[in-house]
């Protein structure tokens, strides 16, 4: 086998995995994406379709470009000085770099949760209400209250914080803060949620809580998660892409990646021989 399979499609994956379910629709798709930081190339020719309402995990050793790829999907790389992205990335078959797409609108549709919990220096309530307010999603206070409650409830945080909504978001524990950030991200009703190692700063119990949450959320949202932990990828995701040295080495069903990888490098990484 030479090189990598350039055209990943869910139909062929399904044939190979011989599953009976219908293949998922493509929500986002990257085609031939190159990313440069200054002169240094960080990603090379990445082709990756993202399935609708599934969890896609991106794994690989540090510095392999998986976080860079994630940030391309909601154009957070725009804020990085000297960063250049080429190739096409589509959301619902519309190129996110096309001039008709407003980056602000894009980010409202493609939300993001960061590696370290980053609540705003505001109250718990205002943290959640921030997005709905700036996007003018509500007409009155009652609607806003409702969104805040729903978002917190979906992030599994409502019962813990319902009596202390006016306390600062930073007063919560690390795991609660991360769930607050997830609630904040889903409060604007995004279609896709990007998660950049959301559990790497958390203890195992908080991690388990977030993983459960991801499982529940994927009914409603398309989720892409970057993770260092292969166990986590295996636990939460339906599809997994393995990045190495700036390329997408292999992309397949999570089960296939972990039990029957086609590429030597993937095999080496998932069996722990390097990484």
């Amino acid at each position: 086998m030479v090189g990598k399979n350039v055209n990943y499609s869910f139909e062929t994956m399904h044939l190979e995995a011989s599953q009976n379910t219908t293949p998922p629709r493509v929500k986002m798709e990257a085609k031939g994406v190159d990313v440069y930081y200054g002169d240094k190339q960080a990603l090379e020719k990445v082709d990756l379709p993202v399935p609708l309402n599934r969890v896609t995990a991106l794994i690989g050793p540090s510095g392999c470009g998986k976080s860079t790829f994630l940030k391309c999907l909601n154009r957070m790389n725009d804020t990085v000085v000297g960063c250049r992205v080429t190739g096409s990335i589509t959301l619902d078959e519309e190129d996110i770099h096309s001039p008709t797409v407003d980056v602000v609108q894009l980010r409202a549709r493609v939300g993001m949760v960061f590696q370290k919990p980053n609540p705003f220096p505001k109250s718990i309530y205002d943290n959640i209400a921030y997005g709905p307010r700036i996007h003018g999603m509500t007409r009155d206070r009652t609607e806003l209250d409702q969104i805040v409650e729903e978002s917190l409830a979906r992030a599994g945080l409502w019962n813990e914080v319902k009596d202390r909504l006016q306390e600062p978001g930073t007063s919560l524990s690390g795991g609660q803060q991360q769930r607050l950030c997830i609630a904040r991200a889903i409060a604007v009703n995004p279609e896709v949620v990007l998660m950049d190692e959301p559990c790497s700063a958390l203890d195992p119990i908080a991690t388990a809580r977030i993983e459960e949450l991801i499982d529940e959320l994927c009914n409603k949202y398309t989720i892409i998660i970057v993770t260092h932990s292969m166990q986590q990828a295996a636990r939460v995701s339906h599809y997994t892409g393995f990045f190495h040295m700036g390329e997408l080495v292999e992309y397949d069903h999570t089960e296939a990646i972990f039990t029957n990888p086609q590429q030597e490098r993937t095999k080496g990484y998932v069996t722990g021989r390097f990484g």
């Binding site: 993001m112 980053n118 609540p119 705003f120 921030y130 700036i134 904040r184 991200a185």
Partner: protein, 455 residues
């Protein structure tokens, strides 16, 4: 003076103490395990050698001159019994003894007492030297005796250093206290003449009382309201200029400017802070005030050539760098993570700055504004030159006004009698200003603290 010699001797003794203590500890280390590193033993000995001597030097510096003076006076002239004349005489003797004034017959002082003073000073220096060496040696021996393998030299040194740190911080506190106390006592003397209520609530400020019987002067009225109104007005105008300009400047520099632009603009702005205020005063008096006056004339307004507006505008320019530079620093210190968090929600940069970055940086920005206000309140030169000296009580910024600091200066310039209410009024003004700024600071700290709790 002999202090440089004594200081050198003390330093040499301390170095020797360190070397000997270090050596002794090393010697002991061969016999058994030392609790502390040898150099701590050395430092311990050095501190015990130097500190008592240093204390001795301070004692001598504080008390020797006074004692010598009283010895000279009780033995010599005796003066005419008048304490003022006595002080003048003593001053002459001192100057001659130090060689800063040639001795002449008929000066009212005898050569004997000059000689006597010289001798006493010489003796005092020698005595000081011996005392310092003596206490140094005693301290040295005491410290050396305490060196043992189980002696906790590190803890001891740390204890001494901690005491030194406490002393250093108390010095500044005590000096502040001294300044406040001197203000209070002088102000009390003023309030013995002028009732407090007249001072605080009086609407009329004209301190030009006659200080000698043959002078013509007003009866004097010391109502401070016009001065504080003027201070408030001019400070207010300057903050109205500096706060928006400085803050917008800081936002541009930290959020939008490329590193290159920032590297140029920030130092350039800080140059503004380095311009002497008297130059600002010239600028205000010669260019801004006439320009405002001319402009007023064109649109049919009667504007005095010296106006609070001119002073306030120029003062505002002066304090822009305080606001912009400090605010830029605190805005930069806001973590990138929460900016990214906001941008990733689909917030625009403006929304991110307004709703996330600025609130997070608010305590620092308030601090910057406070510093700017305290600079503006304390500023004198610009006001003297551009706003005049007339204590008008008016809400019209186009008229001449004056501030507390300017009045303090004018009260104390020239020949003064130090117990006339006119002079003492300066202390009362200073004290009031001190309390006003103190209350301002307390309020601002409270605001910042409440904000922190809410966060």
């Amino acid at each position: 003076m002999g202090f440089s010699l004594i200081g050198t001797v003390l330093a040499i003794m301390a170095v020797l103490g360190f070397l000997i203590g270090n050596q002794r500890a090393r010697g002991l280390a061969r016999a058994g395990r030392l609790h502390s590193l040898p150099r701590y033993h050395g430092v311990f000995v050095a501190l015990w050698t130097a500190l008592p001597g240093l204390l001795m030097i301070i004692l001598f510096a504080v008390f020797s001159t006074g004692m010598i003076n009283s010895m000279v006076m009780e033995n010599g002239q005796g003066g005419a019994g008048d304490p003022h004349m006595l002080a003048v005489e003593l001053n002459k003797i001192q100057l001659i003894a130090e060689g800063r004034m040639p001795f002449q017959e008929g000066m009212g002082v005898s050569w004997d007492s000059v000689e006597r003073m010289k001798n006493l000073h010489r003796n005092a220096d020698i005595l000081a030297l011996f005392c310092v060496i003596a206490v140094g040696v005693v301290g040295f021996l005491y410290a050396l005796r305490r060196i043992r393998t189980d002696f906790r030299a590190r803890q001891e040194v740390e204890r001494i250093v901690r005491v030194l740190l406490v002393v250093a911080s108390s010095v500044s506190i005590f000096i502040t206290l001294g300044i406040v106390l001197s203000l209070i006592f002088e102000a009390l003397r003023f309030f013995a003449v002028v009732p407090v209520s007249d001072f605080i609530f009086g609407l009329q400020w004209s301190p030009q009382t006659a200080i000698r019987a043959d002078q013509v002067g007003g009866s004097g009225s010391f109502g401070a309201i016009p001065l504080f109104a003027g201070t408030l007005m001019i400070t207010g105008i300057s903050i109205l200029v500096a706060a928006p300009v400085g803050l917008f400047c800081a936002i541009y520099l930290s959020e939008f400017a490329s590193p290159n632009v920032r590297g140029w603009v920030k130092p350039a702005l800080e140059i503004l802070a380095g311009i002497p205020t008297v130059v600002y005063g010239l600028f205000a008096a010669l260019i801004v005030a006439p320009a405002i006056s001319d402009f007023g004339g064109q649109i049919g307004l009667d504007i005095a050539s010296e106006s609070a507006l001119a002073a306030g505008l120029v003062m505002g320019i002066m304090i822009i760098p305080f606001v912009s530079s400090l605010s830029d620093d605190v805005i930069n210190a806001v973590p990138q993570a929460i900016r990214d968090g906001s941008l990733a929600m689909g917030a625009t940069e403006a929304e991110t700055i307004r709703q996330v970055v600025l609130p997070a940086a608010l305590p620092g920005i308030v601090g910057a504004l406070l510093l700017a206000i305290s600079r503006a309140v304390g500023e004198t030169m610009i006001v003297v030159m551009a706003a005049g000296l007339a204590a008008n009580l008016t809400a019209n910024p186009l008229q001449a006004m004056t501030t507390v600091t300017v009045q303090i200066v004018t009260l104390l310039v020239g020949d003064q009698e130090f117990d006339s209410p006119k002079t003492l009024a300066a202390f009362a003004l200073g004290l009031t200003l001190f309390f006003v700024t103190l209350i301002l600071n307390i309020v601002a700290l409270g605001v910042v603290k409440r904000y922190h709790e809410k966060q």
